[in-house]
Amino acid sequence: MFAYIIRRILYAIPILIGVNLITFMLFFMVNTPDDMARAQLGAKQVTPELIASWKEEKGYDKPLFINTEAEGISKITETLFVQESAKLFSFDFGFSDSNRDIGSDIKERMFPSLAIALPTFMIALITNISLALLLVLFRGSVLDTSMMVIAVMIMSVSGLFYIIAGQVLFSKMWHWVPISGYESGWEGIKFIVLPVIIGVFAGMGSGVRWYRSIFLEQINQDYVRTARAKGLSELKVLFGHVLRNGMLPILTGVVVIIPSLFMGSLIMESFFGIPGLGSYTIDAINSQDFAIVKAMVFLGSVLYIVGLILTDISYTLFDPRVKLS
C-alpha cells in the first residue's frame, strides 16, 4: 500500500512537469521577458539597460529551454523553464503583478472557499443519493417519471440563472439573507446559506440522474434478485445491496473532486463576494495577472492528482476484491 502510494506520487511528477510546460509555453509564446520588464517598470523611461538589469535581478535573463552557453547538465538546468518549474514544485508561487505574495494569498483565501464548497458538496451528496434511492424505490411510478422530467429541466437552465434568481428573490425582495459578503466564524453563516442552497439545487438535476442510473444498473443484477428471493424487504435490498454495490462507481466520480474543493467555485464566489480562491482566480483573469493563473493551474493539477490517488485508496476500503499493486 505504502509502496503503491509512493509510486503514484512519483508517477505524478511527469504529469506536473507536463502541466508546467503547457502553461509555460502559453505564457512565453506571447510574452517575452522584455515585455514583462517593460510592463513592470512602467512605460516611461525604459532604457535597454534598465530592462537588462531588471531581467538579471528577477532571473529572467536566461534562455527559455536550452542554455547553449552553459556546460554539461546545466545546459538544461540553467534555463527559465527549469527555474520557474522548480519554484512551483517547492510551492513558491512568487509575487503577483500587484506585488503580493501569491502563496500567502492562497493560504488566506482557502478557508472562505472551503466554507462554501464543503457544505455544498456534503449536502448535495446526501440529498442527491437519498432522492435517487427514493426514485429507484418507486421506479416507473408517476413520481419517478415526473421527477426525471424536472431533473432534465433543472439541468437545462444556466447556473447563472439560479444565482441571479436566488439573489433577487431571497435577498432583494424578501430580505432573508444579505446579498453578498463574507465573515468568518458563526456570524458568517448568513452569508453562506444562499450560495450553498443554490449550489445544491443547481447540481441536483444531473446529480440525481447520475445516481439513479447507477442504482438502476445494480437493481437488475442477479444478486439483487437473489436477495429478494431470500425474502428481504425492498428497503433492505436497497440499502444493504444496491447502495453498497453502487458505492464503487460513486466513489470514482466523487472522491476525485474532494481535494479540488479547495479551489472554490469561480462563479459562486464572485457573485456573492466571497474572498476565496475562486474569486481570486477570476480577478486574476480579469486583470490578466498570469502569475496567479499559473499558480492556480499548478495547484489545481496537484489537487486533481491527489484526488486520483485518494480514489484508488478508497477502492481498497470499499471493495475487498481490489488490491493495489
Binding site: 511527469p14 504529469i15 507536463g18 502541466v19 503547457i22 502553461t23 502559453l26 505564457f27 509564446m29 506571447v30 510574452n31 432534465v152 429541466m153 439541468m155 437545462s156 437552465v157 444556466s158 447556473g159 447563472l160 440563472f161 441571479i164 439573489q167 433577487v168 432583494k172 444498473e217 437488475n220 479540488s260 479551489m263 469561480l266 462563479i267 482566480t281 477570476i282 483573469i285 480579469n286 490578466q288 498570469f290 493563473v293 499559473k294 492556480m296 493551474v297 489545481g300 493539477s301 486533481y304 492528482i305
Partner: protein
C-alpha cells in the same frame, strides 16, 4: 454586393455538408436506418429535433455574410468600393431593429422609456416625465396586428406542412392528413407539425410586431433585445457544434490508436490526456484565451474589421475548447477499443491478414459510433451553457459579439435598479433554456436507443 466568408462560416458549412453526406451514407444501411427510425418514434425526440433544426436554421441564416458596395452607381472599369459593414442574411431580416435604436432601456412592448427624464417645458418649469420611445407606434391596434401576425404564421406553417406532405410518399393528401391527425403515422408527425406551427407562429408574431414595438424591450444603449437574442443563436450553436468538430478527429484518432496499438503509443497518449485533464478546465481555457488576447493585440493587422476580429476570437475560443474537451471522449474510446479488439471478429480479421487500417474502418469505428454520438450530443448542451459562464468570467467570446453570455453579463450590472431591468436576462435565459432542453431531451433519447446496455 459580394459575399464575405468568415472562418467560422466555412467551418459551419463544411460541418453541415459533412452531416448531410454522413446521413446519406447511413441511409443506405437498413440497420442504421431502423435505429434512427426508433429514435424519432418518440414524440419528445421529434419535437426536440424540430426545435434544434429551428435553431440551426437561424445559425445558417446568420452564417451567410454579405458586404454591400458603398455607392450604388459605379462606372465600369473602376474598382468597386465596399463599405466596412459586413451583414448577414439575418441582419437583413432585422434591418429595422438595427436602425430603430432608442436612447436607453425600455420594457417589452413599452411605448415610453423605462426611466424618467428631467425636461424643461415652455414655461420654464422642470418636470420629470417618461419620454416616449422614438420607434414604436403608440396606437391601440396591437390586437389586430397580433391577429394578422398569427394568421400569417399559421399560413406559413401550413405551407411548410403541405410541402412536407407532398414530398412524402402517400397517394392522397387527404389520407395522409387524416393519418397525421389521428396520430397513426409511423413517426409522430402530429407532434412534429404542432411544434413547427408553434415555433413559426411565435417567430412570425415576434417578427411582425418588431416593426412597431420592441417586443423584448431594449438594452442600455437602446439596442433591440429580440434582435440580440436571435443573433446570439449563432454564437451558442457554433460553440456547441464546432468544438465537437475540432475535438472529434483528435479524440477518435488518439483513442483508437491507444486502445489498438498498446505499448508506448498507449503510454504517450495516456500521459497526454491525464496531463491535460488534470488542469482545471476553466483555468486552461482562461490561460489559452489570455495568451490569444495578447497575441491578437500585438497583431492588429490581421483583421480588416471588428467583425473579423471577433470571428477570429470565436474561432480561437472554439479551438481552445476543443483542446480541453477531447480527453473525456478519448478515454472512453480507448477503453472501448481495448474491449472490442479482444472480441473474436477482430482476431479473425487479423488472422485473415486484413490490414490494420481496414480493421479500424470496418470493425472498430462502427462499434464506437454510439459512444461518439452520445458524447457529441451530451457535450453540445454543456458547451452552450459554458459559453455564458466563460463570457461572465471574461474569457468568452469578444465583448462586441452578440451572445447570451454577453447579454447576461451586461444585464447583471443593472440588477440593483428598481424596478428591475429583467428583460435582457430573461430573453437570454429563455433562448438558452429552450435550446439546451431540446438538446438534452434529444440526447436522452439517443442514449436510450443506441446504448447497447439498454437492449434488454
Amino acid at each position: 454586393m459580394k459575399f464575405v466568408v468568415l472562418w467560422t462560416d466555412i467551418m459551419v458549412w463544411v460541418l453541415v455538408f459533412a452531416l448531410l453526406a454522413w446521413a446519406w451514407v447511413l441511409s443506405r444501411s437498413p440497420q442504421v436506418k431502423k435505429k434512427w427510425h426508433t429514435i424519432f418514434r418518440s414524440s419528445i425526440a421529434m419535437a426536440s429535433a424540430i426545435i434544434l433544426l429551428f435553431y440551426l436554421f437561424f445559425t445558417l441564416l446568420d452564417s451567410l455574410h454579405l458586404r454591400f458596395s458603398a455607392t450604388s452607381t459605379q462606372s465600369t472599369g473602376q474598382a468597386v468600393q465596399y463599405d466596412g459593414e459586413i451583414v448577414s442574411l439575418l441582419d437583413l431580416l432585422f434591418v429595422h431593429s438595427i436602425e430603430n435604436t432608442e436612447r436607453t432601456y425600455s420594457a417589452p412592448f413599452a411605448i415610453h422609456e423605462y426611466a424618467t427624464s428631467i425636461i424643461v417645458d415652455k414655461q420654464g418649469v422642470t418636470k420629470q416625465v417618461y419620454l416616449p420611445l422614438k420607434h414604436v407606434s403608440s396606437g391601440d391596434d396591437i390586437w389586430i396586428k397580433s391577429f394578422f401576425a398569427l394568421l400569417t404564421g399559421l399560413g406559413i406553417s401550413v405551407l411548410l406542412i403541405v410541402f412536407h406532405l407532398f414530398w412524402y410518399k402517400e397517394r392522397r393528401l387527404v389520407d395522409r392528413l387524416r393519418k397525421v391527425w389521428k396520430g397513426e403515422t409511423e413517426l409522430p408527425w402530429r407532434t412534429g407539425y404542432l411544434t413547427l406551427t408553434l415555433l413559426v407562429m411565435t417567430f412570425v408574431w415576434f417578427y411582425m410586431l418588431s416593426y412597431d414595438y420592441h417586443v423584448l424591450g431594449t438594452d442600455k444603449v437602446g439596442g433591440d433585445v429580440l434582435y440580440q437574442s436571435f443573433k446570439s443563436i449563432r454564437t451558442g450553436v457554433l460553440i456547441g457544434i464546432l468544438t465537437t468538430l475540432v475535438m472529434l478527429p483528435v479524440a477518435i484518432l488518439l483513442g483508437v490508436s491507444a486502445g489498438l496499438f498498446g505499448g508506448w503509443v498507449d503510454d504517450v497518449i495516456q500521459y497526454l490526456y491525464t496531463t491535460l485533464s488534470s488542469i482545471p478546465g476553466v483555468l486552461l481555457i482562461a490561460a489559452g484565451v489570455l495568451s490569444m488576447q495578447v497575441m491578437m493585440d500585438n497583431n492588429p493587422a490581421w483583421f480588416e474589421s471588428t467583425l473579423e476580429r471577433s470571428d477570429l476570437r470565436l474561432l480561437f475560443l472554439i479551438l481552445i475548447l476543443g483542446v480541453t474537451s477531447w480527453t473525456g471522449l478519448c478515454r472512453l474510446l480507448r477503453a472501448e477499443t481495448l474491449k472490442i479488439s479482444q472480441i473474436e471478429f477482430v482476431t479473425a480479421a487479423k488472422a485473415f491478414g486484413v490490414g490494420r487500417f481496414t480493421i479500424i474502418r470496418r470493425h472498430i469505428i462502427p462499434n464506437l459510433m454510439h459512444i461518439i454520438l452520445i458524447s457529441v450530443v451530451l457535450d453540445f448542451s454543456g458547451l452552450v451553457l459554458a459559453e455564458a459562464v466563460l463570457s461572465y468570467v471574461g474569457v468568452g467570446v469578444d465583448p462586441t459579439m452578440h451572445s447570451w453570455g454577453n447579454m447576461i453579463n451586461q444585464a447583471r450590472l443593472e440588477m440593483a435598479r428598481e424596478p428591475m431591468v429583467w428583460w435582457s436576462l430573461f430573453s437570454a435565459f429563455v433562448f438558452m433554456f429552450i435550446l439546451v432542453l431540446a438538446a438534452n431531451l434529444f440526447s436522452d433519447r439517443i442514449q436510450t436507443v443506441l446504448d447497447p446496455r439498454n437492449d434488454t
